[in-house]
């Protein structure tokens, strides 16, 4: 069956219509940086498994000026991701608490930020002092 020839609104350049659309695109685009960083970590894991010499060259690449610049971009993307993820969290989690005594949006977001701080500090502590 063919599609009936109804009018369809032109969606070209839809992000130009509203700043909120551009913020949405920015939020979604953080995934490109996050995916790239995952590939960087995977390459590091491969080099670590391959031996000291490959690991040394991976480390050199990660600490090179271009590597540090790319990681600065990844850091910006990661922060945008965290901010938007925790801001949206009240909409995505099931209601917390009994009816009439529901946990508010601000409380959910704040709890997520506290959890993030605790997890981050624990992980950094392990990475820096773990061995």
């Amino acid at each position: 069956m063919t599609r009936p020839a109804t009018w369809q609104r032109d969606m070209r350049g839809w992000w130009r219509r509203d700043p909120a659309f551009r913020r949405y695109l920015l939020r979604e685009a953080t995934s490109v940086a996050i995916g790239g960083y995952a590939l960087m970590l995977l390459a590091g894991l491969g080099c670590l498994a391959a031996g000291p010499a490959p690991w040394q060259s991976w480390q050199g690449l990660v600490m090179s000026p271009i590597g540090l610049l790319l990681q600065a971009l990844v850091f910006a993307a990661a922060v945008i991701h965290s901010v938007s993820w925790f801001r949206l969290m009240p909409l995505t989690v099931p209601p917390v608490g009994r009816p009439g005594r529901r946990l508010g949006d601000t409380a959910i977001s704040s709890a997520a930020w506290v959890a993030s701080a605790v997890c981050s500090l624990a992980l950094l502590g392990w990475l820096v002092y773990g061995a």
């Binding site: 960083y37 894991l45 498994a49 690991w55 990681q71 600065a72 850091f75 965290s82 990475l127």
Partner: protein
């Protein structure tokens, strides 16, 4: 003609996307600060420093740390794959099944590689 209703695969992918997004939101900034700021700024040479070969192998000596490392990389990949797929759609690139297979296939490949590599890591 009878209509066959098929269950959607979407919940499975959304679950992996959500898990990856949560893990990334919780600790990814800290991990990037470690690899991109703390490790380069602390004194390091060929056989000393936070990213020294023997030291990193010691960090990943335990099965738990290896599983966490592989799981972290895999979840980041699933998160990115799902969002990139939908980002393409939003930007007017309707890749269909091929794009879907490439996105989720890449994430599956990253997961398998990460899982295999942590098993192959030498003991310190």
């Amino acid at each position: 003609m009878s209509i066959r209703f098929r269950r959607s695969h979407e919940p499975l992918f959304w679950l992996l996307f959500g898990a990856g997004g949560l893990v990334a939101a919780l600790v990814l900034p800290a991990v990037v600060v470690f690899t991109g700021l703390i490790a380069p700024l602390t004194p390091h040479s060929a056989d000393a420093g936070l990213l020294d070969y023997a030291r990193v192998l010691t960090l990943f000596a335990s099965p738990g740390a290896r599983a966490a490392c592989a799981g972290f990389i895999a979840l980041l990949a699933w998160h990115a794959a799902h969002r990139i797929l939908h980002l393409c759609h939003d930007l007017g690139v309707h890749g269909g099944a091929g794009l879907k297979w490439s996105c989720y296939g890449s994430a599956a490949a990253v997961s398998l590689l990460a899982g295999g590599l942590v098993v192959l890591l030498p003991s310190p």
